[in-house]
């Protein structure tokens, strides 16, 4: 049988089933001209590979990798929203909200002390991070701010995780007053890494305190500039 150019190309590209591949192979053994065409096709493929494949080994320009690195740092507000939604709307949690809350309290020792008694102010390292760091970016001293929001009174508050401690602090007077104290973040829990469980608890506590959605990056940048005055 005669082999069409389409069929020979499909053979060269590995697109034929066994039956048709066998047909092409029979024809190739009988027809030197056809075999020559196949050889030309394979040689073209090699020429293209030799031309384009070295690009794979080249170092990537910064302008290609930088946007991805940046995206990894930016706090993903939609993810924060989704996490909150899950907290309240996932049916399993709706039925067992109390049990989940109790489990989180056990793991994280979240202690609410809203109202002023026994509350304390953030230390200088934490305060500096809360003053100046954007959410989602790990700071030099290991403090990561998770999100920023306004509480019911309009005060600006920020959820954070700092090494062995996590919590929520609100900007009151000249400093940051800690309203919620959590336990260790994922990185401090040793071998058993329950990724983000402390962060999730802080997010949930923030949801309880917040008057609206979390600040976006622009609003947060303005707040940093304005020194977190309400």
């Amino acid at each position: 049988m005669t082999i069409s150019p389409e069929m020979l190309a499909a053979y060269a590209d590995g697109e034929l089933d066994e039956l048709n591949a066998a047909r092409v192979e029979r024809a190739l053994s009988d027809d030197p001209a056809l075999a020559g065409q196949l050889e030309a096709m394979m040689s073209l493929k090699l020429t293209l590979a030799a031309h384009y494949d070295p690009i794979l080994a080249q170092p990537l320009p910064d302008r290609l990798t930088a946007p991805i690195t940046e995206a990894a740092k930016v706090v993903d507000l939609s993810a924060v929203r989704a996490a909150r939604q899950r907290w309240f709307e996932r049916p399993a949690l709706r039925y067992s909200g109390g049990a989940i809350a109790a489990a989180l309290a056990l793991v994280l020792l979240v202690t609410l002390n809203r109202g002023g008694e026994a509350s304390d102010m953030a230390g200088p390292q934490l305060a500096q991070a809360l003053d100046s760091q954007a959410s989602g970016v790990a700071g030099a001293n290991g403090t990561k701010v998770l999100l920023s929001f306004r509480d019911q009174a309009g005060t600006l508050c920020r959820g954070y995780s700092a090494g062995a401690a996590s919590g929520i602090a609100c900007h009151e007077g000249k400093g940051w007053k800690i309203h919620v104290k959590g336990g260790a973040g994922a990185s401090e829990q040793g071998d058993y890494r329950q990724a983000g469980s402390a962060d999730a608890a802080i997010m949930a506590a923030a949801q309880d305190m917040a008057a609206g959605p979390a600040l976006d990056a622009d609003q947060e940048a303005q707040a940093i500039k304005a020194g977190w005055e309400p």
Binding site: A9, E15, M41, S43, Y52, I55, I68, A71, D76
Partner: protein, 164 residues
């Protein structure tokens, strides 16, 4: 979010291949990296549209291919003339450092192909996609893909046959 990290890690892993495809589509390496950067930025902006569990590579190739086609069309609308690959050793519009580019035989032969044949050749013969996958990236029927591929391949063999 875990899938967010997967998305960004997957994207980083794809960059060398996307860059190879961009270098095949565009006329010089500065344009190729512009195209690649535009693809990364568009993909980051529309990441909500990517369906988890579907192939990230096809999705990103499709974005790059669409940006390239859009750019080519708007260039044509602005009345910029096609650079003849045989005379066209000067490409790049600013007359700056990349103005004079030494094009290899392969570059010239590829540049002489219509865009639709060039992308078909690149996706199948360089990127190694199956016909069905390449057709899906382009958004055309498989039969259309195979006939573009055949014509592109024949034109390349005619141009490069003697030289290789």
């Amino acid at each position: 979010m875990a899938h967010e990290d997967d998305f960004l890690a997957g994207m980083t892993a794809l960059l060398p291949r996307l860059r190879r495809f961009a270098h095949g589509l565009a006329r010089n390496s500065a344009d190729a990296d512009d195209l690649c950067q535009a693809t990364v930025e568009r993909a980051l902006l529309s990441r909500q549209q990517w369906q988890e569990g579907t192939r990230l590579d096809s999705w990103m190739y499709r974005i790059m291919r669409n940006i390239f086609i859009d750019q080519t069309r708007s260039t044509a609308r602005r009345g910029r003339t096609f650079v003849d690959p045989d005379e066209g050793l000067t490409v790049g519009r600013d007359g700056a450092q990349e103005a004079t580019v030494e094009l290899s035989m392969v570059d010239r032969a590829m540049a002489a192909l219509p865009d639709e044949q060039r992308e078909a050749v690149l996706l199948v013969m360089v990127e190694g996609y199956k016909y069905a996958e390449a057709a899906e990236i382009i958004g055309c029927p498989v039969g259309t893909l195979t006939s573009r591929l055949l014509r592109g391949r024949e034109a390349l063999m005619a141009r490069l046959g003697e030289a290789t």
